[in-house]
Symmetry: C2
Subunit: 308 residues, 2 copies
């Protein structure tokens, strides 16, 4: 009968990942790998072959849980693809699988930390950075700047309906970052005060477009109109082979809008936005910062020379 | 001692107009004129000369109450400028002043109704109109369309922090208008479904730019990027001689953002946006609809021929 316990564990974790509307994509990817570690330790199996089937099955299911956050699927697929041969001893095999999940978490975190460092090196004392919603990479960027003595100011949004911007405000307040906190509606008014907009990513698509929290497209449009650079900070685990026409922008429960049900009114709560590549001026990842368009304020154009 | 009662009445009305964050500009202008009517009837004065001083003083004070909503100031100044000679009899004089306020209200309402009718004539059955925040003119437009048998669909926003969009949703639901209700953050995602964006106005400035509820500039940018016409529906009582660099965008209490006070975090609650003329494709007022830029979908360009 242990199969039922396994099913229950997997179904519960799947529900939890689907319902987690507060975690950013990188954090959710780490949580999914932690689920794999727990499951490798606790699932009820008779032998190593069954263990391998079970953890692969959980990884597959979690992979499909958050289609707008491709990093979740990417790290789980990477985990499965790089899973080493497990020892014959079941207890040791459980331990090896868990260690592998930890190694992948470590890889993702290192990639994120390197991307943050490259991005930080481009910032100078006194700059004002505007962001939208919450990205663990952007939080780390502010922390890294503060630690290295760079005084960076912030403009941040509350991010209806999840209101995750409130937690970012508390985080920045503790860090000692001078922060301006606004509603999404005020983004066009405030973007002119920023030296750069820097956002995280849920996914980076094949054609260079970005999937990120709803509202990011408006901020990108406002930044472009005001001539403010719009940067994306995201490790390459977020790269996706999906094209914009096939991307899934997840819609969350309409109850979050707190409006009563009415026969002629349809509530929408789409959590993600698609930002075309033409609105993005630079990408920062673990390889460095690639500036696509450099504004006059940032110095001369620096497109890499074509090969040959 | 009656002067104190007069002062109290005027101070109370001034506070009420300043604190009224739910009424649109046209509605607030009407309420200010109704205040004048009440005051003409009730203020404590010895003779007609004093009455004239008192109602002119109240009109002056209310004029300055809401600098972003120029229509309030415009109609009050129009009231004072067109106030006829009052009869010598105090009671009759009170009545004549009140009647004049009613006449101005009527003029404003007629101008609004004509603007709505011109705008409605440009709409065709099955169109989807997107708007932001609440404008009494846009509400009347939906009502007029429904009455004349034009089936128009709506996309509307909740409008944090005032959430006046919820009342618009209830209004459209009762009218039987098929309505999609979204957060501001989703505006760029949804504008592509609209045939036109139509918003009201708080003020129209001398250079053709618009002052309207915060978030309108983001919607105008998204509309332009998507090639969707962006129309402004507003009677000419909203015209202002102010230039964009001198405009006052009112900031409302930060408590509306419901975030605790923190030493390093400054909350902003600016209620109005400045939308440059280059983002506006048409103006509808009591003279007709002037299309500045006509998209291919709307037919050939129709700039009026220059004189001479």
């Amino acid at each position: 009968m242990y199969g039922r316990d396994n099913e229950e564990f997997k179904a519960r974790r799947l529900r939890a990942v689907k319902a987690d509307l507060n975690s950013g994509a990188s954090v959710l990817a780490r949580k999914a790998l932690e689920d794999i570690m727990d499951y490798a330790d606790a699932c009820e199996v008779a032998d190593v072959a069954e263990l391998q089937v079970e953890i692969t099955d959980l990884a597959d299911r979690l992979s499909g849980a958050r289609p707008s956050m491709v990093v979740v699927s990417n790290v789980l697929k990477h985990f499965v693809a790089t899973l080493p041969d497990l020892p014959d001893d079941l207890k040791k095999a459980r331990g090896r699988a868990a260690v592998h999940a930890e190694e992948v978490i470590e890889q993702v975190q290192q990639a994120q930390a390197r991307a943050v460092e490259f991005c930080m090196n481009e910032l100078t004392d006194g700059m004002t950075i505007m962001t939208h919603s919450v990205s663990s990479s952007v939080m780390q960027l502010f922390t890294a700047c503060q630690r290295s003595g760079k005084q960076i100011n912030a403009i941040i949004t509350e991010s209806r309906p999840g209101m995750e911007g409130r937690n970012l405000a508390r985080y920045l307040n503790k860090l000692g970052v001078q922060t301006q906190f606004i509603t999404e509606a005020q983004m066009a008014h405030f973007v002119v005060q920023a030296d750069k907009v820097i956002v995280g990513a849920d996914s980076l698509l094949r054609d260079g477009s970005l999937v990120n929290k709803t509202g990011t497209r408006l901020l990108a449009l406002a930044a472009k109109d005001a001539g403010i650079p719009f940067w994306v900070l995201a490790e390459s685990f977020k790269h996706s082979l999906v094209l914009p026409e096939d991307v899934v922008l997840e819609e969350m429960p309409e109850e979050e809008l707190q409006l009563e049900s009415m026969p002629n009114v349809q509530l929408h709560n789409i959590y993600f936005d698609l930002i075309p590549a033409r609105l993005i001026t630079a990408w920062a990842d673990e390889q460095g910062v690639r500036v696509i368009f450099r504004s006059l304020a940032e110095g001369a154009a620096s497109l890499p020379a074509a090969d040959g």
